[in-house]
Structure formats: C-alpha cells, structure tokens
Amino acid sequence: MLKKKPKEAPEINGGAMADIAFLLLIFFLVATTIASDKGVTVMLPPKAEKTDVKVKERNVFNIIINSQDMILAQEEQINDLGHMREMVKKFVLNQGKDSKSSESPEKAIISLKTDRGTSYDMYISVVDELKLAYAEMRAAAVGLPLEDFQNLDKDKPAQKEKLDKAKDLIPYKVSDAEPTEI
C-alpha cells in the first residue's frame, strides 16, 4: 500500500468576495442619504384672536429686511451681522438705563419684519444670529462659557435646572411680523 500524502486543507477562493461587498457598498452609497435632521427650531404664535397687546415702543427692537436683502435694525443699516448681534445684546441687557432701550430682558421683544421678496437664506442668517445672541446672553446669565452652555443636556435634572433658569432670566421673544407686500 502506498502511503497517502497528507492532504493540504482545501482553500476556497475568496477573491470575488471583495467584489460582491463592493457592489453592496456602492448600492448603499447611491441609494441612501446621511440623515441630517437638524435645524433652527421656532415656536409659532397661536392663531391670533385679535388681541391687541400694548407694548411700549422702547421695548421693541425692530429689524426690517427688504426685498434686496438689506437689513435695517433700529433705523440703522446693518452690513455686518455680528454688529447686529451686539446691538441686540446691548438692547436686551439694558435694564432701563438707556431710555431708548428695553426696560428689562423679560420685556424686550425683537420684531423681525420681512418682505415677500426677502430671500430665505438671509432670513435664516438673521434668525440664527438672534438665536446666538440669546444663547450668549443666557450663558452669561448662568455664568457658563457659551460652549458649556450649549452642551447642557436637558435630560439631566441638574443641567435642566440651569437651562430653565437661563430661560426665565432671558426669555426668547422674537416675533415674526406679517410680511408687507411691496
């Protein structure tokens, strides 16, 4: 009897596996999108029941954007949104010192008026700037750096308390006025 040679383990050719995986990969790359569900959240006012709320002139910060995307804030033309942010902060945190600015942060209202021809891009930039102004003021009100404040997690009670406190001190009051037709 011949002595059998020890058999080598049979190898399976796995070269094509990479190709198959590539095919699947490319399918998923093409057919799906990376979910980007983020945005600027706002609460709309409830449907108006013709209530005339009297607001003192000095407590309103007027922002008007026209159809050429030019911004007018408190009768001053704005070319730099960062400057507008400073103006808003100064206005809200006035605490009654300047007779032309707000009496207190609770009473301050930002009125944002747009034209039908205003571009959405410009509108979002302005809203974003207002949100940032308020975030900065809130962060300062609870004594945290802006970044730490933005990372507060409202699911944790201790951190939620801080957020609520900040919201009480500096309520976000921005009203979208009805657009004008020009």
Partner: protein
C-alpha cells in the same frame, strides 16, 4: 568559483483575504449611518447654513414639507410646496397637517413640522405656509439647515 543560487523564500502574492472584511466594515457603516430617501424630490432643495441648530428628537413626530423651485419645468418656475410625493397648493396644507396629526393619534399635538426650504426661496411663500400652519395649529416648526462653522 561556485555560484550559489539564492532560493527566494518569500511568496510573491500579497494576501488579500482581509480585503472583503474591510469592505464589509465600510458597508455596515453606510448601512447604519444613512437612510433611504423617503420621497422623491420634485423641488430644488439645497438647505441654508446656520450655526444654532437643534436636533430633531422624536423622528416619529416629525413631518416634512419641502419648498423650492420645481425641478421639472412643466410645473412652472415659481417656488412650490411638496409633501410626500406630490406638489400641493398653499390652501391644502391645513388638510395635510390634519391628516398627519391623525396618523399620530394621541400625540397629534406634539407634531413638529420640519420645513426643508431651498435657500433661494422667497419669504412670501414661506410666510404663507407659516400662516397655514398656525391655522392648522402645528406650531412647532423646524427650519432645516446645515451646520455652519463660526470663525469668531
């Protein structure tokens, strides 16, 4: 002089057996990190940029409205509103919101409307939509935007 032929012991081919594993890893990443397009877009939709973003929390409570110029010239060049797979007019929004709220049942009032608006759209149509949403009592609105990095 005797010459010695050097026997090369190194194998010529590179082992490629790990390649499929790497590709599979990539594949799984994409399978998890991405989602299928929910509806085919009939309007242009490039989102604006903003830095103060909030993440939408409960996906099931979110309903989307797309606004932008139609990609198909047959539908005109004015910005239009798209929900699900159809273009609708402004006065059909209330109807749409009510049916979306019905789908959610008890949580109907917690609905968030995510407005995916093309950055070239004009405020006119957007404020019309906003009025309709107030009419339908869907007050929580999210303007979808992409992350912008601030340099200051």
């Amino acid at each position: 002089m005797a010459t010695f032929k050097k026997k090369t012991k190194t194998k010529q081919d590179i082992p490629t057996s790990a390649l499929p594993d790497i590709i599979f890893m990539l594949l799984f990443f994409f399978m998890i990190a991405t989602t299928f397009r929910e509806s085919e877009l009939l309007v242009k939709n490039s989102l604006p940029q903003a830095s103060e973003l909030t993440k939408l929390e409960k996906k099931s409570l979110v309903s989307y409205i797309y606004i932008g110029e139609p990609t198909d010239k047959k539908n005109g060049t004015e910005a239009r509103i798209q929900v699900n797979d159809v273009l609708i007019s402004t006065d059909q929004i209330v109807q749409h919101v009510i049916s979306e709220k019905d789908k959610l049942g008890e949580d109907g009032n917690k609905i968030t409307m995510s407005l995916k608006i093309d950055k070239e759209a004009k405020m006119g149509i957007i404020s019309d939509v906003r009025q309709e949403l107030r009419e339908a009592n869907a007050l929580k609105v999210n303007y979808a935007a992409n992350k912008k990095l601030r340099l200051d």
